[in-house]
């Protein structure tokens, strides 16, 4: 019908004059032209009207399309045909009938993979209308988007890891270049060979610049990979500022700048990460020195109150070339300087400010900048003075205070094989207290060398190592008669998924939780139609709240426990839930221990448990996992018993820590 015709028809042919037959034809035409399947039921739930798409979507044979057929007949028919999987047909029917009194919608996946969105609305006077929309394509597109997003995220992670490794590999030859040019400079100085000195200084300076660049890239990739840890301690500011002054003075001399350190006498101390604060200040000061000629660079430090919070304010003020508003806008982005010609004139990596900004955020503070072209710039770092820092704390106090380990004569020797020094630290502090004699190896080849010379009693082996990985070491060990009997504990710290699976997790999800996926998982794992209970175990009430919403979206009831112990208690006092959603990092009892305990009880062995883990394990979590989980694998040919008993002792001791 043309748009213009509508008003004309209305005018010349009043609605009441349309005959019943015409109206029915009009309705029929409308129904058949819809891109959705439609079915209308009367007050007795008899199918009154439907369109061709309804028949197609549901694949209904003709005998079911008649007015003597009811909604219940049709649901039972679909159920018998297997459209609801293994679910109880009468329960499925009851569930649907209960929902008919109000408008509702849900998604249904047909056995052929078609996804239908079903919407049912009651109509005035009784009965209801059901509308079916084929959303298969939309779902497919959503899935592709999600996969693309996940692929992009994993690519970004791989990139960060690659950069971190690459930076390390680049530094080794660079150290040789710098070191030998310094030796040659000293030789040349002894000979009084000024021309060679000038050339060697250029090699040295270029090498150092390159090293600086690599260090910046390494820092940035660590930050992006979530692997940069904050190490908080009480920092006396006067001493820190003196150090900074010593370090930046040579830079200031280069452009004949005057450096002024303006600091309150009673500035006191600040709880922060001294390395990151120092690096941030030096970044700002070296920039100021670079962009100022024959001027003044001031570092002003004041205690300050901003937004009701006591803080320390560091201003780096220069009288240099300054920046335009446009340049300011790009300032903190990686790999951009005010403009590309800046790099040619002034050098630098363009990463310093990006890193500084990240550091300030990690320290719970902020960075700001004001600038006027040709007059100078002021960069301001504010760091909070209060104790309640949001930043994660990794205290080295435990490591620093633990007495040096003494080798007890005749003690059990444990060879720790891991490329990560942090793991050595954690395991050392735990195992040395138990009287073990510890030997350390930082790579697979080195580990084998040590084992062959001095066979240890037990080996802890990291799975993920560069060059020769844990599996290869294990394989070689088991092929050598002298090494084969040595019990091995595989440590998987990166791969907590397999650890969880081996302990009995049904599924894994990473946090932040994708709600659509979660709802789909719940539907997959929990017996449909039971209206069952989902036990949500997480120490964060906000996370529990969000999960509960998803659970209810899936048509189930959610109940909460704040840690593993609370969850065990709940299980003991209630009927078995349909499903458990389980966080790993929790106080009192963590997810791994909970998993182990629950799986020991026969009635819970088949209970579906979805483990929720943080996407990127940071240092704290890796430490936590290293401290709390020792994965015992029986990859050897020998029976688990012999291997297991030696290791269970360690694992048990470990767990009680």
């Amino acid at each position: 019908m043309k748009a213009g015709g509508s008003a004309k028809d209305e005018h010349h042919v009043p609605a009441k004059e349309v005959s019943h037959g015409q109206e029915a034809a009009l309705l029929r035409a409308t129904l058949e032209n819809m891109s959705q399947g439609v079915a209308m039921y009367d007050v007795q739930h008899r199918l009154v009207t439907w369109n061709e798409l309804f028949r197609q979507y549901l694949d209904m044979p003709d005998e079911f399309l008649g007015t003597d057929r009811t909604f219940s007949d049709y649901i039972r028919y679909l159920g018998k045909r297997g459209e609801f999987g293994d679910a109880d047909i009468e329960q499925e029917l009851a569930k649907r009938l209960a929902l008919l009194s109000r408008s509702h919608s849900f998604e249904r996946v047909r056995p052929d993979g078609t996804v239908l969105e079903v919407r049912r609305d009651p109509v005035p006077g009784g009965g209801f209308i059901a509308i079916y929309t084929d959303i298969t394509e939309r779902k497919k597109a959503e899935m592709q988007l999600r996969e693309a997003k996940e692929a992009a995220e994993s690519a970004s992670k791989v990139k960060s890891a690659f950069l971190a490794n690459m930076s390390h590999e680049l530094r080794t030859p660079l150290n040789a270049i710098i070191g030998y040019s310094e030796i040659l400079m000293e030789d040349a100085a002894d000979r009084g060979d000024a021309a060679s000195i000038a050339d060697l200084e250029k090699i040295d300076a270029a090498g150092k610049h390159l090293l600086h660049l690599i260090n910046d890239i390494l820092d940035l990739s660590k930050i992006e990979a979530g692997r940069m840890d904050v190490y908080l301690e009480q920092v006396p500011l006067v001493r820190l500022l003196d150090e900074v002054k010593t370090l930046v003075s040579p830079m200031m001399k280069k452009n004949e700048n005057t450096f002024v350190l303006d600091c309150e006498a009673a500035i006191g101390s600040l709880r922060t990460d001294v390395t990151k604060l120092k690096q941030s200040l030096i970044n700002l000061l070296s920039n100021a020195a670079k962009f100022t000629k024959k001027g003044t660079v001031t570092l002003r430090v004041r205690s300050d109150e901003a937004a009701g919070q006591n803080s320390i304010r560091f201003d780096v003020i220069d009288s240099g070339i300054g920046m335009t508003d446009e340049q300011l806008g790009r300032l903190f982005q990686a790999f951009t300087q005010a403009d590309s010609s800046t790099t040619r004139h002034f050098g630098g990596t363009g990463l310093g400010l990006t890193i500084t900004k990240h550091f300030c955020t990690m320290l719970g503070g902020s960075i700001a900048v004001t600038s006027t072209p040709r007059q100078g710039s002021t960069f301001t770092i504010r760091l909070p003075l209060s104790e309640g820092e949001a930043a994660p704390v990794l205290t080295g106090a435990a490591a620093a205070q633990s007495p040096p380990e003494e080798a007890v004569p005749g003690a059990v020797t444990v060879l720790i094989v891991d490329d990560d020094p942090a793991v050595h630290e954690v395991l050392s502090s735990t195992l040395s207290k138990e009287g073990y004699r510890l030997v350390h190896a930082y790579g697979g080849a080195e580990a084998l060398e040590i084992m062959r010379r001095e066979p240890p009693d037990i080996v802890t082996l990291d799975v993920m190592m560069p060059k020769v990985d844990g599996w290869s070491v294990l394989g070689i060990m088991k092929s050598e008669p002298e090494l084969a009997p040595i019990p091995v504990i595989m440590l998987t710290i990166v791969d907590d998924r397999s650890l969880g699976f081996s302990l009995g997790a049904s599924e894994f999800m990473t946090k932040p939780v994708d709600r659509t996926r979660l709802v789909a998982l719940i539907r997959k794992l929990a017996p449909t139609g039971t209206g069952g209970v989902v036990l949500i175990v997480d120490d964060d009430p906000a996370v529990r709240g969000v999960l509960k919403l998803s659970v209810e979206t899936a048509g189930m009831r959610g109940t909460e426990a704040e840690n593993g112990q609370a969850a065990l208690d709940w299980l003991a006092a209630h009927q078995k839930p349909a499903l458990i959603l389980l966080d790993i990092m929790m106080p009192t009892m963590d997810g791994f221990e909970f998993l182990e305990r629950v799986r020991k009880q026969s009635q819970f062995q088949e209970l579906p448990i979805v483990v929720l883990t943080a996407k990127d394990l940071n240092e704290r979590e890796r430490t936590f996992l290293a401290e709390n989980t020792l994965l015992i694998l029986s990859k050897s040919a020998q029976p688990i018993g012999t291997l297991g008993s030696a290791l269970a002792a360690i694992a048990g001791r470990h767990q009680r820590e």
Binding site: A422, H440, E446
Partner: protein, 124 residues
């Protein structure tokens, strides 16, 4: 002439540092792994030990612990050298019994200062 024991597995680093230390008036003894380091500490009785931390056979932490637990060598100052310029490494080195700490690549004037400070008045 003060004697320095340099424990370093990387050949180039060992060569560079030993040559530069020798130029600055030290007698230099080198060890290529932690085990050899512990042995040479006992037999050579150096005035200072420069100890790399990532060493084969015995790592630097363990080697330092052994040097410090042997009454014969316990008094010899140990300076830890590590490529990871991380705060934790410094703490770890001190926990193992090191007397001072420096990062690689070595800044020679700074390292010489630290050596001088540890030698104190005993070794002129």
């Amino acid at each position: 002439m003060p004697k320095i024991l340099l424990v370093e597995d990387n050949e180039m680093n060992r060569d560079m540092l030993s040559r530069r230390l020798a130029r600055n008036g030290f007698e230099v003894v080198v060890a290529v792994d932690g085990q050899q380091g512990v042995e040479l500490a006992a037999s050579e009785r150096p005035d200072v030990i420069l100890m790399d931390m990532s060493l084969p056979v015995l790592d630097g932490w363990e080697a330092t612990r052994r040097v410090k637990s042997d009454p014969q060598t316990a008094a010899i100052p140990v300076i830890a050298l590590t490529a990871h310029a991380m705060r934790q490494d410094e703490e770890l080195a001190f926990a193992a019994g090191c007397d001072d700490f420096d990062t690689k690549p070595v800044d020679l004037p700074r390292l010489l200062q630290k050596i001088a400070a540890l030698l104190g008045g005993d070794h002129k």
